[in-house]
Symmetry: C2
């Protein structure tokens, strides 16, 4: 569902590193200082071999008799995943999903920061949603430059999604997380993750149906 | 990110079939009667070989000189993906994301139907959101049986997600689409898709960072 390719660390490893880090942070909050690979693996429903392979891929090898040092591992994953400064993000389309995504990501203490929203609805433009200003789509290119926005989250209606491709390219956006049901293609150099939630629900439903038919 | 395994049709093919179907429906609405595999492939950013392989896997072979018959192919994919009757779904956790997901899926004309929501917040319980009744979590098992709910969409705070595993198993739920950042494990026979949107955003950000460092 993405156009990511030819990078040294596989896409799936990057996903798991992000997931490990969240688990590790939660352990850290609970005062847990060390964790074994098989414990981390169990939480994520994968094998300890997979965890060790992922950490080997990023060059982390300080396993101890007590398992991995939670704080050290968090810092190490930070050094791999995070950019040096904060990375600015905009949400395009402030319908229900756009607003929910904004509230979800906003203030999570990530280095990823939502700094602007865009819409064409006059009722939304000029207002703030969860302290994030909503600009008219006509100002997109201008604001992307002024606010140093690198990534957009697309939550517009599917019907208008394809009209957004050219403005996104022209504005110099480097990454797109596309939540619309319209798959979008971008030139190389722009990372796209097409992430259609209807597909997921249909997939779960299919395998539920299959399981039911198998057990009948 | 899921525990799906050992089925005849691969998970990724099921995802793509769901995506093809949405594209085909949109073509049908526009009056397009036939589509070539390479056109369908182009829209989804994949190769025509992949499209043909996916359709071969489900036993669809009625390619014509004009390409695939759009209506026939939609019907064929329906027969693979859809259950015979509607499949009932509940949303657990009616915060911003839960409400947005409910509004997003509700009334989409899918065979998948959201029929109930659950929360512990007295301000939400007893009310309707987008015509979907919100029940207290204490009634979960009872309502799942009464309403024949097969699938739950989890959008609770991550901190309470793990407390929901036992009620979900006990109620006889068959599929879980987990949007919380807490990965959940269920016994075999319950399909789980852990779908953490923070991971996606972090993944896009990582590859944006990598691309920037490569081109510097």
């Amino acid at each position: 569902m993405s156009n990511i390719q030819n990078n040294s660390i596989p896409e799936k490893t990057i996903e798991r590193l992000s997931e490990y880090r969240r688990t590790l942070k939660s352990c850290h909050e609970q005062g847990i200082t060390h964790i074994f690979s098989h414990v981390l693996a169990g939480i994520h429903g994968i094998t300890a071999v997979q965890v060790r392979r992922d950490l080997m891929l990023i060059g982390f090898s300080s396993d101890t008799k007590k398992g991995y040092d939670v704080e050290v591992l968090i810092e190490f994953i930070n050094s791999i995943l995070d950019s040096r400064g904060p990375m600015h993000i905009a949400v395009i389309g402030m319908g229900n999903l756009g607003q929910a995504l904004t509230k979800y990501f906003n203030g999570r203490g990530l280095t990823l920061r939502i700094v602007a929203a865009f819409d064409i609805d006059p009722a939304k433009v000029g207002h703030e949603i969860d302290d994030i200003p909503c600009y008219p789509m006509g100002e997109f290119e201008k604001q992307v430059e002024a606010l140093d926005i690198k990534i957009v989250i697309l939550s517009s209606p599917a019907k208008v999604a394809s009209e957004l491709v050219v403005p996104i390219i022209n504005a110099g956006i480097k990454g797109v997380l596309n939540f619309t049901s319209m798959p979008l293609n971008f030139p190389r150099g722009i990372v796209v993750e097409n992430y259609d939630i209807t597909t997921l629900l249909e997939k779960v439903a299919y395998f539920v149906k299959e399981n039911e038919e198998t057990t009948l």
